[in-house]
C-alpha cells in the first residue's frame, strides 16, 4: 500500500478527497447554493477528462504508445452510456414512442436496430462501456502490435482509426443519431439528471472513478509487468530479444487503458447531457495528449492535473477572451514540448528539490524513479 500511494499520489488523492467533499457539500448544504450547480457538472467533466488523461498516460508515459485515438475509446464509452440513457427516456420523447428514440422515429426506423437491444438494462450498458472500447482496442492492438507497427506510424493509424469512426458516426444510417448524437436525456436509474443531488452523485462517482483509475494504473506500473512496460518504452527491441512477448504486454496495457477511457466517457455523457460524433474528432484526441504532456508524462498524477489545468484554463479563457484561447492552447503545445519535457509536475518537484529546506530529498528522487 505504501508503494501504491507515494507522496505525490497521496497529496493528489487528499486534494481530490477535499474537492469531492467540498463541492457537493457547498452545493447541496447551503440553501443559497454556495457553489452553483453548473460548477458541480463542470468539475465533474474535468474529473472525467482527468481519468481519460490517466488512461492515455498509462500507454504513452509507461509504454511509449502515443495513441492519437484515445478520444475514440472515450466516445465509445460515452455512446454506450448514452444509448442506455436514450432508452431510459422511454415514451417521454418528443414523439412519445415508447420503443424508439426520437431520432429513429424522425428517420423512419421501424424497429430498434439489433445493436441497440439490451441497452435498456443498466448493467448491460455498464458492461458495454468496458467491452466496446476494450474490444476495439484489443482488435486494433492485436493487429498493430503483432506486426510491430510502432512510434509515429502507430500514432498515425490510431488517428486514422478515430477519424474513420467519426465519419461513420456522422452517418445517419449508422443508427447512432448521426450529426446530433444522443441527447435530451431525462434520468439515470430513476434519478433526474437535472436535479442537483444527481449531479452531485455523478460528481462523486467521477472522483471515485478517477481515484480508482489512478490506483489501478499505479498498481500496474508498480508491478513487475509495469517494469517490463517501461523496458518496452525505452528499448523495445532489447526487451524482445531478452525473451519477453512485447506485443502481449502492449496489448494488455492498451486494452486496460481503453476501458478506463470508456469509463471516463460513460461518466462524462450524463454530466454534459450530450454525446456526438465530434468527440471522435482527431483534434480532440490530440488535445488529450497535451493534457498529459503539460501535467507530466509518465507520472499518472501529473496527467490528471494536466487535464484539470487545461480544462479549467479553457473554461476561464473562453469566457474572458474567446479569441485568445486557441492562441494560448497552441502556445502551450509548443512551450511545453520544448521547455517543459517533464511537465508541470516535473517543474514543481524540481523547484521543491532545489530548495535547501527540502528534507525528503531521497523520497522525491524515489518518486521520480
Amino acid at each position: 500500500m505504501t508503494a501504491l500511494i507515494d507522496r505525490r499520489m497521496g497529496i493528489f488523492l487528499a486534494g481530490l478527497f477535499v474537492l469531492t467533499v467540498a463541492i457537493p457539500l457547498g452545493n447541496l448544504a447551503f440553501t443559497d447554493r454556495f457553489v452553483p450547480s453548473y460548477v458541480v457538472s463542470l468539475f465533474g467533466k474535468y474529473l472525467c477528462y482527468a481519468l481519460l488523461a490517466v488512461a492515455l498516460d498509462l500507454v504513452w508515459g509507461y509504454c511509449g504508445i502515443l495513441s492519437l485515438g484515445h478520444g475514440a475509446f472515450f466516445a465509445l464509452g460515452g455512446y454506450a452510456m448514452g444509448m442506455h440513457l436514450m432508452r431510459e427516456i422511454g415514451d417521454r420523447g418528443v414523439y412519445g414512442n415508447p420503443l424508439l428514440p426520437d431520432f429513429m422515429v424522425f428517420l423512419n426506423y421501424d424497429a430498434l436496430p439489433w445493436y441497440w437491444l439490451g441497452f435498456d438494462m443498466f448493467w448491460f450498458a455498464c458492461i458495454m462501456v468496458l467491452l466496446a472500447p476494450g474490444a476495439l482496442a484489443f482488435v486494433f492492438g492485436w493487429f498493430a502490435f503483432r506486426s510491430r507497427v510502432t512510434g509515429v506510424y502507430l500514432s498515425i493509424i490510431t488517428q486514422a482509426m478515430t477519424y474513420a469512426l467519426m465519419l461513420a458516426f456522422f452517418r445517419n444510417e449508422m443508427g447512432f443519431g448521426g450529426n446530433n448524437g444522443l441527447t435530451d436525456f431525462k434520468d439515470v436509474l430513476g434519478f433526474n439528471l437535472q436535479s442537483d443531488a444527481t449531479r452531485a452523485g455523478l460528481f462523486v462517482l467521477s472522483a471515485i472513478a478517477l481515484a480508482a483509475g489512478l490506483l489501478i494504473a499505479k498498481a500496474i506500473t508498480n508491478s513487475k509487468l509495469g517494469k517490463v512496460l517501461i523496458a518496452v518504452r525505452d528499448a523495445e527491441s532489447r526487451t524482445r530479444f531478452i525473451g519477453y512477448r512485447v506485443e502481449h504486454y502492449k496489448l494488455f496495457v492498451f486494452v486496460v487503458s481503453a476501458m478506463m477511457a470508456g469509463v471516463a466517457g460513460a461518466l462524462y455523457t450524463p454530466q454534459v447531457g450530450i454525446i456526438n460524433p465530434g468527440e471522435f474528432s482527431p483534434a480532440n484526441s490530440i488535445g488529450i495528449v497535451i493534457w498529459v504532456a503539460l501535467g507530466g508524462r509518465g507520472t499518472l498524477v501529473g496527467a490528471a492535473m494536466g487535464a484539470i489545468i487545461v480544462g479549467a484554463a479553457q473554461t476561464l479563457l473562453t469566457g474572458w477572451f474567446p479569441e485568445i484561447w486557441i492562441f494560448v492552447l497552441g502556445a502551450l503545445f509548443i512551450f511545453v514540448t520544448i521547455f517543459m519535457p517533464q511537465g508541470v509536475l516535473g517543474v514543481i518537484e524540481n523547484t521543491l528539490r532545489r530548495r535547501p529546506a527540502a528534507r525528503d530529498l531521497t523520497t522525491a528522487r524515489e518518486a521520480k524513479a
Binding site: 509515429v152 498515425i156 493509424i157 504532456a293 479569441e323 503545445f333
Partner: protein, 540 residues
C-alpha cells in the same frame, strides 16, 4: 364585330364551297396566305400554316410563332394583319408582311387570331421544319435536336428532305437520328426501315439512345425486338466502359489533389522524419495567398485576372516556405530525434496559424474565382472533364516532376539527402546541416503553399481548409512509404482511384471509411508502406 364577320365567313364557306375555293390564295404567295388567316376556320388555319411554311419565306417563322403565341392580330381600323409586340409595357403593332410599325395601339383596337392546341402543335411542327432550313447551322442543329426530342411520324418526310439537302456533318448526324426516331414512332414503317433506324439510334451509345430503344425490346415484332435487344446490350456495355473511364478520371483527379496535399509532407515527414501537423495550415496559407492576390487584382488590375493563379503560385510558395522556415528554426529544430514531441509542437503551431488567419480574414469561406481557362468543361465520348480538375492534375504532376529533379539533380537536393542519410558525416564534409534542415523544411512547406493555390480552385477557402486534408495526406505518405517520392505518387493515385470506385457502391462517406480501414490493415502487413526504404535507415 370581327366575330360576326368570321361567323359570316364560315357560313358562307359552308354554303358556297366552290366560291370559297375560288378565293383560296395561291401557293407560294406569302402575303395572300397570311391575309387569309383572319377569316379562316381552325381547320383551314391549320392547312394555311403548312402552306405558309412551305413558302420558305424569311418572314414565315416570325409570323407563325406570333400566331402560336396569340400575338398575331388584325387591326380593327384597316383589317391589316399585324404582330403585336410589347414595347416598354405598351402594345405596339407591326405589320406582319412589311414589319412597318403602326405605333401603339389601344387595348381593344385589335383582335387576336384565335388558336387552339392542335393549331399550336401544327405551328410548332411547321416552325421546326422551317428552322431545319435556316441559314445558321447552329439553329438547324437545334431544330434537328428538337425534332429528335419530340418525334412525329408525320414529320419524317420533311426531316428526310432536310437531311438530303444538309451539308453540315453535325447537323446531318442529328437529322438522321431525328429521322430514325420518327420512323420508329411510325407504326406503318417497314421492318427493314425500322431496323436501320435502330442501328442509327444505337450508334449514339448514350442514355438517350437507351431510353428510345429499351421500350422496343417489348415490341410484338420479334425481329425488331431482337435488334433492339442487341442494340441495348451493346449500348449498356459501352456505357459501362465509359462509366469505368469516368471513375478512373475522378480517381485520378482525387489522386492529384491528394498528391498535392501529401507531396510536401513526403519531404518533411518522408525525408526529414518530422511529423508536421501544421502541414494542412501551410496549404491553407497558400489558398489565402491566392485569395489575397485575387483581391488586389480585382480592385486594381482587373485585366490580369486570368493570370492571378500564375502570380499567386510563386507568392504562395514563398509565403508558406517562409512560414515553414520560421517553424523549423523556431521550434522543430529543438526536437530532432523526438518525433512524437515534434508532432505535438507542430500541432500547436497549426492551432496558432489557424486562429491567426481566422482573426485576420474572419471564420467564413472566402471566394476565390476560377480564371477563364480553368472554368468550363469538355467531353470525351460520354465523360465530362472539367478544366479545373484537368489543370490541377497537370499541376500536381508538374510539381512532382520538379521536386524529383530538385531532389535528384541539384546541389541542394544532394545536400538534403546527405544530411538525412548521415548527419554527422555530412557536417564533416562541410555541409551546414542546420541551414539544409531549414531549407528542406521550407521546401516542403512551400510545396504545401502551391497545393493551396490549386485547392483554392475546388475547395472552400476557410481557416479549416487544412484540417480536412491532414489525415488524408498522412495516409498517403504512410501508405506509399515514407522517404520515397514515387511511393507518394503511387499512394495518392491508388487511394484516389480506390475511393472513387467504391463510391458508387458504398456512398462517399462509407467509401472513405473503407479506404481508411484498408490502409490501417495494409500498414499491419507492410508497416513501412508500399515502397519501403531498405537498409539500416529503417530502424534509426
Amino acid at each position: 364585330m370581327t366575330r360576326l364577320r368570321r361567323w359570316l365567313a364560315v357560313t358562307l364557306l359552308l354554303l358556297f364551297p366552290i366560291s370559297a375555293a375560288a378565293q383560296t390564295p395561291v401557293d407560294g404567295d406569302f402575303a395572300a396566305l397570311v391575309g387569309a388567316l383572319p377569316d379562316a376556320s381552325f381547320a383551314e388555319v391549320e392547312a394555311l400554316v403548312g402552306r405558309i411554311a412551305a413558302t420558305n419565306d424569311d418572314r414565315a417563322i416570325d409570323v407563325l410563332e406570333a400566331l402560336a403565341e396569340g400575338d398575331l392580330h388584325t387591326l380593327d381600323s384597316n383589317a391589316a394583319v399585324v404582330i403585336v409586340r410589347d414595347v416598354g409595357g405598351d402594345d405596339h403593332a407591326f405589320d406582319a408582311l412589311t414589319g412597318e410599325s403602326y405605333g401603339e395601339i389601344p387595348r381593344r383596337g385589335s383582335s387576336a387570331i384565335r388558336v387552339n392546341n392542335s393549331l399550336r402543335r401544327a405551328v410548332a411542327a411547321a416552325v421546326g421544319t422551317l428552322t431545319l432550313r435556316h441559314p445558321d447551322p447552329a439553329r438547324r442543329l437545334e431544330a434537328a435536336q428538337a425534332a429528335f426530342d419530340a418525334p412525329d411520324p408525320a414529320q419524317a418526310d420533311a426531316l428526310a428532305a432536310a437531311l438530303d439537302a444538309e451539308q453540315d456533318a453535325a447537323v446531318r448526324q442529328a437529322l438522321s437520328e431525328a429521322v430514325a426516331r420518327a420512323v420508329l414512332q411510325d407504326d406503318a414503317a417497314t421492318v427493314p426501315d425500322r431496323r436501320a433506324a435502330i442501328d442509327v439510334i444505337a450508334a449514339r451509345r448514350d442514355g438517350v439512345a437507351l431510353g428510345v430503344l429499351t421500350p422496343l425490346v417489348q415490341s410484338p415484332d420479334t425481329e425488331i425486338a431482337e435488334a433492339a435487344g442487341a442494340a441495348v446490350e451493346r449500348i449498356e456495355r459501352a456505357r459501362q466502359m465509359w462509366n469505368m473511364a469516368q471513375n478512373v478520371w475522378f480517381g485520378l483527379s482525387l489522386g492529384s489533389v491528394l498528391l498535392l496535399a501529401a507531396i510536401g509532407l513526403a519531404i518533411t515527414f518522408g525525408v526529414m522524419g518530422v511529423i508536421n501537423m501544421a502541414h494542412g495550415e501551410l496549404v491553407m496559407l497558400g489558398a489565402y495567398t491566392t485569395f489575397f492576390v485575387q483581391n488586389i487584382i480585382r480592385t486594381s488590375f482587373p485585366g490580369l485576372f486570368d493570370w492571378s493563379l500564375l502570380i499567386a503560385a510563386p507568392l504562395a510558395f514563398l509565403v508558406a516556405g517562409a512560414v515553414g522556415v520560421a517553424i523549423e528554426r523556431g521550434c522543430v529544430r529543438f526536437l530532432y530525434g523526438r518525433p512524437l514531441e515534434t508532432l505535438l509542437a507542430t500541432w500547436g503551431v497549426s492551432l496558432i496559424l489557424q486562429q491567426t488567419v481566422r482573426s485576420i480574414f474572419g471564420p467564413n469561406n472566402r471566394e476565390v474565382g476560377n480564371p477563364s481557362w480553368m472554368s468550363g468543361a469538355f467531353e470525351i465520348g460520354q465523360m465530362t472533364i472539367t478544366y479545373n480538375r484537368l489543370w490541377i492534375l497537370v499541376f500536381a504532376l508538374a510539381v512532382f516532376a520538379v521536386l524529383l529533379i530538385v531532389m535528384r539533380r541539384t546541389p541542394i537536393g544532394l545536400q538534403m539527402r546527405a544530411v538525412t542519410q548521415n548527419r554527422a558525416m555530412a557536417a564533416n564534409m562541410g555541409i551546414r546541416t542546420g541551414w539544409v534542415d531549414a531549407m528542406t523544411f521550407g521546401l516542403g512547406a512551400g510545396i504545401a503553399g502551391l497545393a493551396g493555390v490549386a485547392l483554392s480552385q475546388i475547395d472552400n477557402v476557410s481557416p479549416n481548409l487544412g484540417q480536412s486534408y491532414i489525415v488524408d495526406s498522412f495516409m498517403v505518405v504512410v501508405f506509399g512509404g515514407a522517404g520515397n517520392l514515387w511511393g507518394t505518387l503511387a499512394g495518392a493515385f491508388s487511394i484516389g482511384i480506390a475511393n472513387k470506385f467504391l463510391e458508387p457502391y458504398a456512398g462517399a462517406v462509407l467509401a472513405k471509411i473503407v479506404v481508411l480501414v484498408a490502409i490501417i490493415l495494409f500498414i499491419q502487413k507492410r508497416p513501412r508502406g508500399l515502397f519501403a526504404v531498405k537498409g539500416r535507415a529503417v530502424d534509426a
